[in-house]
């Protein structure tokens, strides 16, 4: 049961022009992943691209796990061309996970764009109990709506261009939700994944309202296992010389899920 294993592509399904759903079959027993954790996937056999790419666990399957990804640059473009039966090197599951809500807490899950990939398995975990706020650029960039609807306590959707549901951002929805519900819902805890500006807004709203928020961050990564110190984010704290290493935390090891209040945005 190693965190370094080979997986076989079962399917690599186009969802729209630039999103794919990758189903991997583990060829060895793997460690059980937790919601919010991620994998490093090999995207080429050669030296260019060189590094593995990071992808969140989308969901566990009976034979392995699924990845939901967006074609971003050359690594993901190569991944999107990979055919069934192709074998890949995989590292994972890696990093921290979303702490499960404790009794009495009301989870509010916020997903911006491809951020849905990271929170989907959390939504599965807290099935029925979470409010779900999901925003994307346009109708075509919204995925798994039926499944999500079935799992959410309440489901709010927005698109930047208004092509589905409410026009606006996920932040607008969260603002509305919090101003409406903070009084009725007692112990709100936010889980969020999306572009950094969205997470920053989530953090400041949560801070203003005194709500706990768990956010999942991204940084360029080389090793994915805490060795290279390449993927750090600045955290609040003492900048005095010598106390140094506490100023940065590794997204791959202490993260990707951080307490929003901890990050120096």
């Amino acid at each position: 049961m190693s965190r370094y294993f080979r997986a076989r592509i079962k399917s690599n399904l186009p969802l729209n022009r630039n999103h794919r759903l990758l189903s991997l079959v583990n060829m060895e027993r793997m460690k059980d992943p937790l919601p919010g954790q991620f994998y490093m996937l090999e995207v080429s056999k050669g030296n260019d691209p060189l590094l593995k790419r990071a992808f969140s666990l989308f969901r566990r399957t009976s034979e392995g796990f699924d990845i939901l990804y967006r074609i971003q640059g050359k690594g993901t473009a190569l991944l999107s061309e990979m055919k069934e039966k192709t074998e890949l090197d995989v590292l994972g599951p890696l990093g921290s996970s979303y702490p499960a809500p404790v009794a009495g807490e009301t989870p509010v899950i916020v997903a911006g764009g491809i951020g849905i990939a990271s929170v989907y398995s959390l939504i599965e975990q807290v099935r029925g109990s979470a409010y779900l706020l999901y925003g994307a650029r346009e109708k075509d960039d919204l995925f798994m709506l039926d499944e999500l609807k079935a799992m959410a306590r309440e489901f709010f959707i927005s698109t930047d261009d208004g092509s589905h549901s409410v026009r606006g951002s996920v932040i607008d929805m969260l603002k509305g939700f919090l101003s409406e519900r903070t009084s009725s819902e007692q112990n709100i805890v936010i889980y969020a994944c999306g572009p950094r500006p969205v997470l920053k807004e989530v953090a400041s709203m949560a801070d203003a309202k005194g709500i706990r928020a768990h956010v999942s961050l991204e940084e360029h990564m080389a090793c994915g296992i805490g060795a290279c110190l390449g993927c750090v984010v600045k955290v609040k704290g003492q900048e005095q010389a010598g106390e140094g290493s506490s100023l940065y935390k590794r997204v791959c090891k202490e993260g990707p899920v951080f307490d929003a209040g901890e990050i120096e945005w």
């Binding site: 691209p49 060189l50 590094l51 360029h220 080389a222 060795a227 390449g230 010598g242 290493s245 100023l247």
Partner: protein, 303 residues
């Protein structure tokens, strides 16, 4: 088959080491490979006091390589001794500590402190600091300063002293000779080449530190050439590194003149790279009917 190699008075069970900064403090990789199989573990560069490192982004991929600008973030020598050495003591491999300082005095103090600790088998002095933003780090590029700092550290320690050279110089052989004369027992080369990537949308360098150090297969031809040149210039052993991804790459370095090799960026791509490279070297020796690994060192210079 004899895989042993000698780095000064230090005998390694085989020539495959890890490159500093790419293997953490060893712990990070213990889950993926048997550390006992390595010729040596070289840990992330340490300084007397902990160091914060550079602002992110610290990493960007480049064609067949990567730039890093970690800025030598490290936990400091004391924390290393108390928290990491005990772990490493549990393995039957040589532990080599990479270290650096901001002054000759700091180098000397660091070397002195490290030399007093059980379980450290060698010191690797990083005089390259490729990430120094304010122009050039003179320790690794000005022969006079190099001689001074290496000499001072030499007087401070009885441990095997490896000096790690910067490739960002006009004449690597000269720097190698200077280090040898100042008392180095061995040389490591190469450290990273200084590079930059610019984001054309933002019209700014991508890395927080602006420049970073280029590593990976892209730099291998430069590294092999430097090992080849330095082999002709000095008598002390060379530890070759720079873009080693496979056993064949490692053998190139040995044939060029290296006594041992260090695997760096490859660890990120395959955590099992080191042991696979070792296995490949053994296969090569079998296929070529070689008894002594040391017979390969510098073979390209023969005849």
């Amino acid at each position: 088959m004899n895989l042993e190699v000698k780095i000064g008075k230090l005998i390694l069970k085989n020539p495959v080491m890890t490159a500093s900064g790419t293997f953490g403090y060893g712990q990070e990789y213990a889950e993926f490979i048997d550390l006992n199989r390595l010729g040596a573990v070289v840990v992330k560069g340490l300084s007397l006091l902990p160091k914060v490192g550079n602002p992110p982004p610290r990493i960007i991929e480049t064609p067949a390589g990567m730039l890093n600008a970690i800025g030598l973030q490290n936990i400091g020598i004391e924390k290393f001794i108390s928290e990491k050495v005990p772990f490493l003591l549990g393995f039957d491999t040589s532990v080599i500590v990479n270290f650096f300082g901001d002054s000759v005095e700091e180098y000397v103090k660091a070397a002195g402190r490290l030399s007093s600790v059980d379980g450290i088998h060698g010191l690797e002095m990083n005089i390259s600091c490729p990430n120094k933003q304010a122009g050039w780090c003179i320790f690794g590029t000005d022969p006079k300063v190099t001689s001074q700092v290496v000499g001072a550290v030499r007087r401070e320690t009885d441990l095997p002293l490896i000096v790690k050279l910067s490739p960002n110089v006009t004449d690597i052989s000269l720097m190698a000779r200077v280090a040898e004369e100042a008392g180095a027992d061995a040389l490591s080369l190469i450290n990273t080449l200084t590079g930059m990537v610019i984001d054309i949308k933002k019209r700014r360098p991508v890395l927080g530190n602006l420049t970073g150090g280029l590593s990976g297969p892209a730099i291998r031809p430069v590294a092999v050439r430097m090992v080849y040149e330095v082999y002709k210039a000095v008598k002390i052993p060379i530890i070759g590194m720079g873009g080693i991804m496979s056993a064949g790459d490692a053998l190139e370095f040995m044939i060029a003149g290296a006594t041992a090799v260090a695997v760096g960026t490859a660890n990120f791509i395959k955590p099992s790279s080191t042991v696979e490279i070792l296995d490949g070297i053994v296969s090569y020796m079998e296929a070529e009917k070689l008894e002594e690994i040391s017979s390969l060192t510098g073979a390209a210079h023969a005849g």
